[in-house]
Amino acid sequence: MGRYVARRLLLTIPVLIGASFLIFAMVYALPGDPIRALAGDRPLSAAVEAQLKAQFHLNDPLLVQYGKYVGNLTHLDLGTDFHQRPVLEIITNRLPVTAKLTLVAVLLEAAIGLTAGVLAGIRRNGYFDNVVLVSTTLIISIPILVLAFVSQYVFGLKFGWFPIAGIQQGWYSYLLPGLVLASGSLAYVARLTRTSIAENMRADYVRTARAKGLPNRTVIIRHTLRNSLIPVITFIGADVGALLGGAIVTEAVFNIPGIGRAVFDAVRGQEGAVVVGIVTLMVFFFIFFNLVVDVLYAVLDPRIRYD
C-alpha cells in the first residue's frame, strides 16, 4: 500500500508539471500584450515598457521563463501580479472562501444525493424513484449558468430567502451558491447510488444474506448499502477536487471572492502569474483528491490491493 501511494505520488509530478507548463505556455507563449493591458490607454514610455518586460521575464524564451518559474516555486515564490502583489498572498486570501463553498457543496451533494439515491434504489420503479429520475434528468440538463441565475432570481430576489450575492452573511451566504455548485454532482450521486443499489440488490450475496435469515434491515444496510456506497463515496471524494476548480461560474454569478473568481479576473486582465499559480493549484487539488480516492477505495473494498 505504502509503495503504491509513493508510486502514485511520483506519477502525479509529471502531470502537475505538464499541466502547469500547458497553462504557462498558453498564457505566456500566446501573449496579448500584458504590459499594454496594464497601462490601459495611457501612453507608455519605451523605458518603462522595457523595465516591466524584464521584470516579468517576458523577453526570455518560453522554456527559460518556465524554468525560472519552477525554480521560484521551490521557495514558494509564485511571482506577483502587475500590482506587485504576491500570487501566494492572493491564493491564501481567496482559498478559504472557495474551500468553504466546496465544503458546503460537498455536504449538500452527499446528504441530498445519497438520500434520494438510496430511497429511489430501494423502491425501484416506485413513485419516488420516478421523481428522482425525472428531477435528476432536469438538473443534469440545466446548465449551471442557468441554474445559478434562476435560483438567484427566485430564492434571492423574489422570495428573499438568501442573499443575492457576496459573502457578507457568513456560512449562510454559501448555502445557495453551494447548492448550485453541487447540483450536477448531486444529481449524479443520486443516480449512481440508485443504480448501484438496484444492481447490488440482485447480487448473489444479498440473496445469501436473506437465506441466512438476517433481518431485512441488516440485509439492506449491511449487505446492500455498504457495498453499493463504495463507488458513490469514491465519486464524492474525487468530486471535492473537481469542485475546488470548478467554481468559476458560480463564483462569478454570486460574486463570491474565491479562487475561481480570482482566476477569472486574472484571465481577463491577462495576469499570467496569477493564472498559472491558481490553475496549477487547482490541478494539484484535482490530482490529490483522486489519489485520496484510490487509497479510500482500497480501504473500502478489500478486493482492491495495490501492491
Partner: protein, 323 residues
C-alpha cells in the same frame, strides 16, 4: 458453422450462464431469434419516453437552427426600435423586446443555429482527437500508450471551462487561424482542445478489449494489416459507447459555449447567442427578468434534448443496465 453446431454452442452458453441468476428462469434463449445489438436497442428505445421527448426536442431545435425565420414569426432579429426597449411579452411578440428594442423571440430563435453549430463542430473535434489519440494509444500500447495516457491525464486535470477560457482569452492576440477569430470556430476549437479526454479513454479501452479478442487474433493470423484490423475490426466495436458519449457531449458543449460567451470570452456582439443574451440580461434581472428567462429556458431544453437522447441510447445499448 452448421446450424446444429451453432445451437450446441448456444446451449453451452446457456448452461454456462447458470453460475449467476439461478432464480432467473431461462426463457429459452436458444430457440429465440438472436437479435443484434442494434435491433435490440431500437426495440428498447421505442418504449422509452425519454427517447421520444429527447428526439422531439432535438428535431425541433434542429429545424429551428435550419429555418429560424419560420419560428421567429417573420420578425428580423436585427430590426430594432429603441421605443420598444424591454417591453414584456405580448401576444404579438411572444418573448417581448430586449434593451435595444429588438424582437426577443427572433433573437432567441436565431441563437439556436449558433449553439447547434458550435455544439456539433466541437463534438466532431472531440471525436477526431479522441478517436485518433485513443486508437493509437490502445493499439500500440507500451511506451506510446503511457505517454499518451499521461498527456490525457494532464488535460483531464484541467477543468473544461477554465482551459477553454484561457485559450479563448489569448486566442485573438495570436496568429493561429480560426482561434484568433472570436467566432464559432474559435469556440469549437477551444472546447475540443479541452474536451477530448473522455472520448480518448473510451476508444482506448475498447481498442484494448477488442485487440486481445480471438477474432482479431484470427484476422492477424490471416495476414490483415494493422490499419485494416484497426478500422475493420476494432473501431466498429467502439461505435456504441462513442455514440452515447457524443450525443451527451453535444449537450454539455452547448452549455459550455453559453457559459464561455457569458464569461465574455466566447462569441462577441453582434453575434446572436444565448450566452450573450443571458449575459446582457443579467443586469436587468430586476426590471426585465424575461430577458434572462427565455434564452435560459431554450438553452436548457436544447441541452436536455441531447442528454435525454444520450441517456436513452445508453440504456438501450448497454445490456447490463437493462432491468
Amino acid at each position: 458453422m452448421t446450424d446444429q453446431q451453432q445451437e450446441d454452442l448456444r446451449h453451452d452458453l446457456v448452461e454456462a450462464g447458470t453460475t449467476t441468476g439461478l432464480a432467473a428462469p431461462s426463457v429459452d434463449v436458444t430457440s429465440d431469434r438472436q437479435n443484434s445489438l442494434w435491433s435490440d436497442a431500437w426495440a428498447q428505445l421505442r418504449r422509452n419516453p425519454l427517447f421520444w421527448i429527447g428526439a422531439f426536442l432535438g428535431v425541433f431545435f434542429l429545424v429551428m437552427a435550419l429555418a429560424p425565420s419560420v419560428f421567429a414569426r417573420g420578425a428580423d432579429p436585427r430590426a430594432c426600435a429603441l421605443t420598444n426597449s424591454k417591453l414584456p411579452p405580448s401576444s404579438a411578440h411572444w418573448m417581448g423586446f430586449d434593451q435595444q428594442g429588438c424582437d426577443y423571440l427572433a433573437n432567441v430563435v436565431y441563437g439556436a443555429r449558433t449553439s447547434l453549430t458550435i455544439g456539433v463542430l466541437s463534438v466532431i473535434g472531440v471525436l477526431v482527437l479522441g478517436v485518433i489519440v485513443g486508437a493509437i494509444a490502445g493499439y500500440y500500447g507500451g511506451f506510446t500508450d503511457s505517454l499518451l495516457a499521461r498527456i490525457t491525464d494532464i488535460f483531464f486535470a484541467l477543468p473544461l471551462i477554465l482551459g477553454a477560457l484561457i485559450l479563448l482569452r489569448v486566442g485573438p492576440s495570436t496568429n493561429i487561424p480560426i482561434l484568433n477569430t472570436r467566432g464559432p470556430g474559435a469556440v469549437a476549437v477551444a472546447l475540443a482542445a479541452f474536451g477530448w479526454m473522455t472520448a480518448m479513454r473510451l476508444v482506448r479501452s475498447q481498442v484494448i478489449a477488442v485487440k486481445s479478442s480471438d477474432y482479431v487474433a484470427a484476422a492477424r493470423a490471416m495476414g490483415a494489416s494493422n490499419l485494416r484490423i484497426l478500422t475493420r475490426h476494432i473501431l466498429p466495436n467502439a461505435v456504441a459507447p462513442v455514440l452515447v458519449f457524443a450525443t451527451i457531449t453535444v449537450g454539455v458543449l452547448i452549455a459550455a459555449e453559453a457559459t464561455l460567451t457569458y464569461l465574455g470570452v466566447g462569441l462577441q456582439r453582434p453575434a446572436i447567442s444565448w450566452g450573450l443574451q443571458i449575459s446582457s440580461g443579467q443586469s436587468l434581472l430586476r426590471t426585465a427578468p424575461h430577458l434572462v428567462l427565455f434564452p435560459s429556458i431554450i438553452l436548457s431544453l436544447t441541452v436536455m434534448a441531447f442528454i435525454m437522447l444520450g441517456d436513452a441510447l445508453r440504456d438501450a445499448l448497454d445490456p447490463r443496465q437493462r432491468s
